[in-house]
């Protein structure tokens, strides 16, 4: 029971972490809370769903298609809703409001075109289980956790080891100076949104498979904001740690205490961190971002 709860928590936490890294990456580069991130996750899930049900794609292709689709949607979102504000150096509050507008717009667009029905993915993994230390846990849970770890590790290496990754970290320090190094900021920011969108696509597919696909499913991104704050806004290892901690704590609270209290507990945790440790676990100072 304990181990099963732990694995379930880690898999949910892995999904939170996938959502949180994209949100966190955009936050650290552009310094605003991209509340449209949840809508991109939702659209990524619908892209995956369409590929799975209309074209009968297998899991791998569904995931790849959702990553590509959500990545492109995120880039378009930036180009249409944020780039002109950015160019006019609008305060980040404006960007945040624009992001909220996008979230509402996209959700309602889905309501108006696809409708409010709940959809389920085909059962890619059935009810397959694996046995770990004598407990049987769901293959989907273990897979989601491991996939999240690998994807985030890959992103971490990209950010720390490549030329483009170095430019992203330089931009986090000082955007203007980054452009004076010869970096095309519009291109760099497009790459950041492409990455954030790609992770949103992965999160969308896992969420959709684990639960269901519906227009407001992106609201669960609230948990990603909490995870990002717990870990330290702007820190990728922090987003991972924050996501996993939140997922595990939530699962234990709903299993051993009460599922009604789960979200109360999560938001209490958020407020506690904001009050007592606003930099989170890993956000030592603003210079450590990303």
């Amino acid at each position: 029971m304990f181990l099963q709860t732990l694995i379930t928590g880690l898999s949910i936490g892995g999904i939170y972490a996938l959502m949180a890294v994209g949100y966190s990456l955009v936050f650290s580069v552009l310094n605003f809370s991209n509340f449209a991130h949840g809508a991109v996750i939702m659209l990524g899930a619908y892209v995956g769903l369409a590929l799975a049900t209309k074209l009968n794609f297998g899991f791998g292709l569904v995931l790849a298609g959702s990553v590509a689709g959500a990545g492109i949607i995120a880039v378009l979102n930036e180009k249409l809703a944020y780039s002109s504000l950015r160019r006019r150096k609008a305060p980040s509050l404006y960007l945040m409001i624009s992001a909220m507008g996008c979230a509402v717009f996209l959700e309602n667009l889905v309501y108006a075109t696809i409708g409010s029905r709940f959809y389920a993915f085909p059962e890619f993994f059935g009810r397959q289980v694996v046995t770990i230390f004598g407990s049987s846990v769901s293959l989907l849970d273990v897979g989601a956790f491991i996939f999240a770890l690998i994807a985030i590790l890959g992103l971490h290496l990209f950010i720390n080891r490549t030329r483009t990754g170095t430019a992203i970290r330089a931009g986090v320090c000082d955007m203007t100076m980054c452009s004076l190094m010869g970096v095309d900021l519009n291109r760099l920011i497009a790459i950041v949104f492409l990455l954030a969108g790609a992770f949103a696509g992965v999160a969308g597919v896992f969420l959709g498979i684990k639960y269901l696909v519906y227009p407001t499913m992106g609201w669960v991104t609230n948990k990603a904001y909490i995870a990002a704050v717990i870990g330290g806004l702007g820190s990728l290892p922090g987003a991972l740690a924050g996501g996993l901690i939140l997922g595990v704590v939530e699962t234990f609270v709903s299993t051993y205490i009460s599922s009604v209290l789960r979200d109360v507990f999560s938001f209490t945790l958020l407020i506690a961190f904001l009050v007592w440790r606003p930099n989170g676990l890993m956000g030592i100072d603003s210079e450590e971002k990303v």
């Binding site: 430019a167 452009s179 010869g182 210079e287």
Partner: protein
Amino acid sequence: MNALLVEDLNVHYGTIHAVQGVSFSVNEGEIVSIVGSNGAGKSTIMWTLAGVVPPSGGRVLIKGNPLPSKPHEIVARGLALVPERRRLFSALTVRENLIMGAYRRRDEESVKAEMERCFQLFPILRERLGQRSGTLSGGEQQMLAISRAIMSDPKILLLDEPTLGLAPLIVEAVMNTIIRIRDEGVTVLMVEQNATQALEISDRGYILEAGLFVKTGPGPELAMDPEIRRAYLGG
């Protein structure tokens, strides 16, 4: 041909007219200084040349061609800025700062050679390669800021108060390095507030007051001018 030609440059911040019709030129291989007190508009001129602050009037030619509007396009034309207060990527290591300086350049061999050139100018940087640039001393930070600009292999180097806050011995070292950089074929435009040394090594100097040039001449001559000494050079 002029490396840089500025004609009737005007810059506004909202209603503030920070640069009011300034014209000057920098010839290839020269060191030119702009001297003026705090708030005269020196940094504004630099940010405008680098493409960060848009001009409200006038024109700028770089090697006879109009200045592009975006900073990264200007860098590609061979202009590099060492800004006021250095603006290093403080969370990045010294090596990463240098690599960012060479961002445009894809040929790894020449980037390595360029890094060696920086170590020739500032040997201390070699020892600090893995250190976070935010933890360097003020002098080392200025050396890194100049090196980061050099890494792009610029034809024109802009320096905004390169000696601000540095100890006299380091000021001298920086000035000597600027001469050396010029001797290696780079055109230098420099801005200074405390300007005796800057004017002494300059081929020409311009005195800027409230957004307007009030005097110009050969650098050493301006450095000797009693009126200017009284106003800008601390007597």
